[in-house]
């Protein structure tokens, strides 16, 4: 598969390091001057932009986490005047407030270049017909991949998510060759297709680019078998850009990272110190070219390992392993980020109770299934059945409006949910990812 940007993707790593350093210095100077959060954080540590003399000096800078991005809602972290911002996207925060990110023309140019890059790495060319069954709207997923695919010259079918039977008809009638969506949705499509009597493996469909949630080994094998495609994994997060941060080539041996646009570190989640190459740690990302929304040392909470050896495909850009675990309690359910604390908030909001609950996650075929078990505390117990049903209906409906997810709410006897002496276990994840 041809490299989208051979000069960059197979760059000599010393030259890459030089490029990263000069971009890092520029970024640090800009945020110091224009973003109060970074200015204050650096000032507190006595760090000036001039202190960044080598790439290792990035460690002098403070980490940034989700809280900072949430607390500066909506535009507090922007480094340009708003009239230079030509796009915003948002992602859900842990408690009602979303994180808003922005892009200048140059940012959009970079973004589409990087998604074109990962798409090429997966083998997509101008002759492909790409069905984007990914969320559009305020999410970065659909839009990010859309512009990159368009740049390559592929035919983009902006299907969005849902309406699965129609998606399958389009695949059959439009001659879709590439599929972009979450891995769960890919399996769901396979299930519905089987029900419709459509044999996906015999369609021109030949490659998939899956993101939004990790595509673990077993999941990938199943997708490849049932859809008859090469399944590639890609990684991104809207806080630093969206999709395009990293993506697999046809050899499926790790996700090539856009090191010319991001500086990656892998650290011990407790100490924050770098771990040796090949050891698992938390991925930390610093943007090197973002204009509207630069970020320094963003803690992704994703665990991965890095490999800087040259890949069979010829790329010198380092590869990260698939992310299988996070260091916080965030879950990804049907592609949606969910924190158990959100369930707690919903329950507390109803009659101010704080009942014990347990989130039970199963995989029903392709889709994640969430059941929230709530212990019946006296405050919520009624002698009238209709009131009880109204209670569970209300919890389910609030969960749906807060999380965007449909969950079953099941009342259970008090004491039936296991207690622990340490951190309360809120989740029983029975999915085999």
């Amino acid at each position: 598969m041809p490299l989208w940007d051979a000069a960059r993707e197979s760059m000599n790593r010393n030259e890459l390091a030089d490029l990263q350093l000069s971009r890092l210095q520029q970024t640090v100077a800009r945020v110091y001057a224009r973003v109060p959060h970074y200015h204050d954080a650096m000032e507190q540590l006595g760090i000036l932009p001039g202190h960044i003399r080598t790439l290792d000096d990035v460690r002098l800078l403070p980490f940034t986490d989700k809280t900072a991005l949430r607390d500066t809602y909506p535009y507090g972290m922007f480094a340009v005047d708003l009239d230079q911002v030509v796009r915003v996207h948002s992602s859900s925060g842990t408690t009602g407030k979303p994180i808003v990110v922005g892009y200048t023309h140059a940012d959009l140019e970079t973004w589409s270049d990087l998604t074109a890059r990962i798409s090429s790495a997966a083998g997509v060319t101008a002759r492909d017909r790409v069905q984007l069954a990914f969320l559009y709207g305020m999410f970065t997923g659909g839009w990010g991949m859309h512009y990159g695919m368009e740049k390559i010259g592929a035919m983009v079918i902006p299907a969005g998510s849902g309406n699965t039977e129609r998606q399958i008809m389009m695949m059959r009638d439009f001659g879709t060759t590439a599929l972009v969506c979450t891995p769960s949705y890919a399996l769901y499509i396979a299930e519905v297709a089987e029900g419709m009597g459509v044999d996906l493996a015999h369609l021109p469909l030949r490659v998939g680019l899956f993101g939004g949630e990790p595509t673990g080994g077993k999941l990938r094998d199943e997708i490849e078998a049932r859809l008859g495609i090469l399944a590639t994994d890609n990684y991104g997060l809207s806080e630093v850009m969206g999709p395009g941060v990293a993506g697999e080539c046809e050899h499926q041996c790790g996700l090539h990272m856009a090191e010319d646009h991001f500086l990656f570190e892998v650290v011990d989640p407790e100490s924050g110190l770098p771990v040796p190459e090949g050891t698992e740690g938390e991925l930390v990302v610093t943007t090197l070219t973002k204009e509207a929304f630069p970020v320094l040392r963003y803690r992704t909470h994703d665990l991965t390992t890095i490999d800087t050896s040259v890949c069979e495909c010829g790329r010198t850009l380092a590869r990260m392993s698939k992310v299988r675990q996070r260091i916080d309690d965030m879950l990804i359910i049907r592609g949606v980020n969910v924190f158990p604390s959100q369930i707690e908030d919903v329950l507390a909001g109803i009659e101010g109770t704080a009942p014990h609950f347990l989130m039970v996650l199963d995989r029903q075929g392709a889709m994640d299934d969430l059941e929230v078990r709530v212990e019946v505390a006296e405050e919520i117990f009624s002698d009238v059945m209709a009131d009880m049903v109204a209670f569970t209906d209300m919890v389910a409906s609030r969960l749906h409006s807060v999380l965007g997810l449909r969950a079953r709410v099941k009342l259970v006897e008090p004491g039936s949910i296991e207690r622990s002496t340490g951190k309360t276990r809120r989740v029983l994840d029975r999915r085999n990812l």
Partner: protein, 143 residues
């Protein structure tokens, strides 16, 4: 003005086997006599309603065993034991403008009628031709 009421215990019963059995076993062992009961259920759980002779004790026994229990005052009526007896009572209750949540029978000719607003319902029924019964009478039943 104090109206006659009967005490009802409601117990949350998860839909696993043996829970109702467990409740009745505990009450039996504590020598508590059940005067009447009713079960309302969904696929996942049920509400077991009980009228007993020793309410406070029953509450204690069940709570101790980890059940979620609540106590409510309910209206209890002594029905005329003739065909049309229940129909007559229910018509009187609805003519009085009282909305019934649920009804179930107890031993002998007694029946529990639960309503949303017990006090208001009793005010409306006090002058009607129905015989309202209190907990003392139910506790003392000896057939």
């Amino acid at each position: 003005m104090s109206h006659p009421v009967v005490y009802q215990l409601s117990v949350f019963i998860e839909n696993t086997s043996g829970r109702v059995s467990e409740v009745t076993r505990l009450l039996g062992e504590a020598a508590i006599s059940i005067r009447g009961f009713s079960v309302s259920d969904t696929a996942d759980y049920g509400i077991l309603r009980l009228v007993v002779d020793k309410t406070a004790e029953a509450m204690g026994v069940l709570k101790n065993a980890g059940f979620t229990v609540r106590q409510d005052d309910v209206i209890c009526i002594d029905l005329p034991d003739v065909p049309g007896g229940l129909a007559g009572v229910l018509r009187i209750v609805s003519d009085a403008g009282v909305n019934i949540e649920y009804v179930y029978s107890l031993v002998a000719t007694y029946a529990v009628i639960n309503v949303a607003d017990v006090d208001r319902a009793l005010d409306l029924l006090v002058d009607r031709p129905v015989r309202l019964v209190d907990q003392d009478e139910i506790s003392a039943v000896d057939l």
